[in-house]
């Protein structure tokens, strides 16, 4: 049984069909890439999976459960986490606080405990903070934990988003253009981080990316989207040579 299953998903905005008949599945611990020209509908697919858009038809199943149209926080609690194409950090909070909001997802002492400051509360706070710091260590940001997140350099902000996403201890993580705007060194670091996510943390990863160097390097399987439809699917080597893919990308990206 696959971990994630999208069955004939179609999404419409007003009269415009952004995604049509998207059928796709992912197995546990796979690393799959989703590529396509700008506006192809990639982020829309992510948004459907994570509950931000309700599809007009089709079903999304995760770990055997039908999650179509469920609210984002419910889906997050089931074990799907994500980063955003345009960085969405909690800007005025510190790096550590950003991650703690995610790491606390599985440990909410009740209001009474919080207000009355019981020892249970302190134990939970400790757990939450430790979990957060571990996530920061994966991406190498633990030294900056008390920095205000909006003051971080761009590359670190992207890493922070990833740390935050893994702090919810998800089964599946959706990364939306994590390498966008990164220089070559940062991109190599990112590739390393993604490998750690898959190999050490056992995460299943679905990745949207324009940087072909990243995609070709780490993805086991690639899905190509254009105008909301899947036009090709296969290993990086297979995709590289498919004429439909080259045509869709003509003039917009370099492959290899």
């Amino acid at each position: 049984m696959s971990l994630l299953n999208l069955d004939k998903i179609s999404v419409a905005f007003g009269g415009l069909l952004a995604v049509s008949d998207f059928t796709f599945s992912m197995e546990d611990r796979e690393l799959v890439g989703l590529i396509g020209p700008n506006g192809a509908g990639k982020t829309t697919v992510f948004n459907v999976i994570t509950g931000y858009h309700i599809p007009i038809s089709g079903k999304v199943t995760f770990a055997g459960r039908d999650i179509t149209g469920r609210p984002p926080n419910y889906i997050a609690k089931l074990g799907i986490s994500r980063t955003f194409q345009n960085i969405r950090l909690f800007s005025n909070l510190t790096v550590l606080e950003n991650v703690m909001i995610a790491s606390q997802m599985h440990s909410y002492p009740s209001y009474l405990h919080s207000l009355l400051r019981t020892s249970y509360f302190y134990r939970e706070e400790d757990t939450i903070e430790k979990r957060a710091i571990k996530a920061l260590e994966v991406v190498g940001l633990s030294k900056l934990k008390d920095e205000i997140s909006k003051n971080l350099p761009y590359g670190d902000q992207r890493k922070l988003e990833i740390a935050r996403a893994i702090a919810t201890e998800p089964l599946l993580i959706l990364l939306d253009e994590p390498a966008a705007g990164m220089n070559p060194r940062e991109t190599e670091e990112l590739i390393g981080i993604i490998r750690i996510l898959r190999d050490d943390l056992g995460l299943t990863i679905f990745l949207i990316e324009h940087d072909m160097h990243v995609v070709m390097n780490i993805c086991e399987r690639i899905v190509v989207l254009n105008y909301g439809e899947i036009i090709a699917e296969g290993t990086p080597d297979e995709i590289k040579t498919k004429p439909e893919v080259l045509e869709a990308y003509l003039g917009s990206a370099t492959i290899g």
């Binding site: 909070l93 440990s107 509360f121």
Partner: protein, 311 residues
Amino acid sequence: MLDRLGKFQYPFLIICIVFIYGINLLSSYINPYYLQIIIFSGINIILAVSLNVINGLCGQFSLGHAGFMAVGAYLSAFLTYYYKVPFPIALIAGGLASGIIGIGVGIPTLRLRGDYLAIATLGMGEIIRVVLFNLDIVGGARGFPGIPKYTDFFWVYLIVMLVLLSSYNLLKSPQGRAILSIREDEIAAEAMGVDTTRFKIFAFVFGSFWAGVAGGLWAHYLQFLHPSSFTFMKSVEILVMIVLGGLGSIGGSAVSAVFLTFLPEALRYIKVIFNTTVDPRMVIYSLLLILTMLLRPQGLIGGYRRKVRDQ
């Protein structure tokens, strides 16, 4: 600040209560004029901090706080006047009623964006006022006189302590962080598992509960209630306090609440000196609002900054 006490919160609270009680015993020796200002300062601290939880911490721009205050004021007065209910119970009942109204305001406004939310809450505050205006059992347009004077220094500052303590404890907790995340980026908060609906409603309930209690304190000090005390202007007065003190800064709102309670009295002296009948208070308020937003939007006193957990 207060949260740094950690496990010492309880002893600290007890010491404070004893201290407040002691001062209360001496209160008859304090000049009644100053005592009044001190009492109003306390009530304003409660109002400011409670509004700050909704506006500053949760980022929901609520402009109807006077309505919550009114509900608590009228209900508690109604209970003590007609049914001789003991004061603490009347206060709590007033707070609970306001809290329920808070749910009533919070739920429909969940989907609304910033400015729409502001107007909706303004509208709800006004509806509450108009309803009270037409409710003859609590005096309606003629007002509600003869409320027993139960409020004193002890009650006011006991509740100030409770509000400050609970707000700080809330802030530095998972719930507090969740509330802040809603302010910062609601969409990302949802993706991280935060049930934004529940927390927004909680923020409204928390804020409205304490506003209701403040209303009860107010009613049992002035001994008279009239709906015209709870207009949009009143909501704006409280808004000025939290803007000045820094949206999201609990300590800041407390300080500016005190400052803005003393300020009109100080201005009274100006009137005497210049021998005018003009009351420049609201003009100064509005200038303060404008200048603060233009020059130092994070507030004159506090700011967004606070630490993540107890030391």
